[in-house]
Amino acid sequence: MTLEERKNKVVEDFSLYDEWLDRYEYLIELGKALEPFPEEKKTEDRLIKGCQSRVWLDADVRDGRLWFTADSDAIITKGIISLLISVYSGLAPEEIADDDFAFIGEIGLRENLSPTRANGLVSMINTIKEISRLRSK
């Protein structure tokens, strides 16, 4: 799937849920389904600053593409980072670095989150962008 197709799929998935409760349930499910993140990778340098809960993000380059793994001690946050990496994992770093991440607004995630959480979301996006920029040719 291309980046556009991935984003459209997320927007479509979210459009099924009118109620905030269902959106949270969905994010919780995404969080729970996230692949286990090795304990030894939960290091200070992988921690995303600016979130109330702790969020770790790691990236590997394989065949010129970026593959993200992540974890958080809060499950809704974990669901959000899971959603982000499902959209961006496996793409060329240049493509991620150039993206505007605007689909976040379309799924009502930003408005549904508390101010501190919204900052956390911004920090997550900035970290993904920063990693991609550093790995870009």
Binding site: S53, R54, A74, I76, T77
Partner: protein, 408 residues
């Protein structure tokens, strides 16, 4: 008075959030404002707005009267001996910083010691750390046990002939436990050590009399007890305040200004540099009137007591919940509860409860050292005010169970 009657005075409590009635349980962060307070604020803006003290015109006289009237009201509220022992600041934090700087300049030097407890708010830790750095003094910590309580015996061991001040909270903003301040003051005074009491939560829940407590400084914030924000109070014994140098320089705090050297105004002006919070300070009068009414009203007290018992027992008996702040004597607990839920992050819970209309606090609550001591990264806190009802308490426990169910 019934809580429902009291609620009529707080328009914001009728608010709906996400279509649900607001259940405001973040009172320890800030209380809501009654109509009498907003009316006093508006009245000050609309009919007595002028800068204070320094003009002879009618409006200036009225504004100054309202401001000084508030000072006398605070003096009465705290049982202070003299009105000039009351200094207005922007809040409890500013009041502690004032003392840390000014008392520190006068009385703290290299090798001296300041004592704080492990259960303090950052505002009653960091100003002392800054002072200690400045003066090469040492900050000593009175440790707490798993229940958040300290041993009074340990305090005696910590005091040395180098101890210059003890700073302690009246009621912890995390644990909701009233500390034995009278006893602490007595012990400290035996060694000639002055005591500052952080009353940010204490003044909300207890009748305070600074002369009975015999504390040397007592600070609180108006916004936590119904007044407008930006209204802080520093009470200090006159003898001490007189011996302390000014904290900030500027208008109103001077007697004469010459380039060869200036002299300072008498108390309390010496510590009130610059334009004061002209419109907000008068709101302390209706705020303290209402607070005192609440504190002596039997029906409201009974309601608070029932809520306290109900929530305490609910948290205590819940298989997934660990409650912090469990004093040996029930009467030392106020309706302020911090807890963690096994398997559910405090932030997730707060986020879900928010959507159910419930406002509460999650995180470290400005008490990171205490969080470290308790071995947690953060907690959830529900804090109740006299206007909270039993129905709200029951709705809260029901929603909490629902949120836990969603998360685990």
């Amino acid at each position: 008075m019934k809580p429902l009657q009291l609620r009529e005075q707080f328009p914001i409590l009728d608010t709906k959030v996400y279509g649900k009635p607001l259940v405001y349980l973040d009172n320890a962060a800030t209380s809501q404002r009654p109509k009498s307070v907003t009316e006093a604020f508006v009245k000050s803006c609309n009919s007595a707005n002028s800068n204070l003290h320094r003009a002879v015109h009618k409006l200036a006289v009225d504004a100054t009267d309202a401001y000084e009237n508030a000072r006398r009201r605070v003096q009465e509220f705290l049982g202070a001996a003299h009105p000039e022992e009351i200094v207005f600041t922007s809040g409890a934090t500013a009041a502690i910083n004032l003392v840390a700087y000014s008392f520190g300049e006068a009385f703290v030097g290299e090798g001296d010691e300041i004592i704080v407890t492990e259960a303090e708010h950052h505002s009653n830790i960091v100003p002392w750390q800054l002072l200690c750095e400045r003066k090469k003094a040492m900050l000593k910590v009175l440790e707490v046990d798993d229940n958040g309580e300290f041993q009074i015996g340990h305090l005696k061991e910590l005091i040395t002939h180098n101890t210059r001040l003890m700073a302690v909270t009246h009621i912890s903003n995390v644990l909701g436990i009233e500390n034995p301040v009278r006893e602490i003051v007595e012990i400290c005074h035996q060694s000639g050590v002055p005591v500052l009491v952080d009353g940010a939560q204490g003044a909300v829940h207890r009748r305070v009399n600074v002369r009975e407590l015999d504390c040397d400084f007592y600070v609180f914030s108006g916004h936590k007890l119904f007044a407008a924000s930006g209204t802080g109070v520093l009470y200090g014994k006159r003898l001490l305040l007189d011996a302390m140098p000014p904290f900030m320089g500027g208008g109103e705090m001077i007697e004469t200004v010459k380039f060869s050297g200036s002299t300072w105004a008498k108390l309390p002006g010496k510590f009130e540099a610059g334009t004061q919070n002209i419109n907000a300070v008068p709101t302390l009068v209706p705020a303290l009137d209402l607070l005192e009414e609440c504190l002596k009203d039997a029906e409201l007290a009974e309601n608070q007591e029932s809520i306290k018992k109900y929530i305490y027992d609910f948290l205590e008996n819940h298989p997934r919940i660990t409650q912090y702040g469990r004093p040996a004597e029930h009467e030392r607990k106020v309706p302020l509860f911090s807890f963690k839920v096994e398997g559910a992050h405090h932030e997730d819970l707060a986020l879900i409860l928010d959507k159910m209309g419930i406002a509460l606090r999650s995180g470290q609550m400005c008490a990171e050292p205490l969080m470290d001591r308790l071995g947690v990264t953060g907690l959830l806190r529900a804090s109740f005010a006299p206007y909270n009802t039993m129905a709200e308490a029951e709705y809260f426990t029901k929603c909490l169970d629902k949120a836990i169910e969603m998360l685990v």
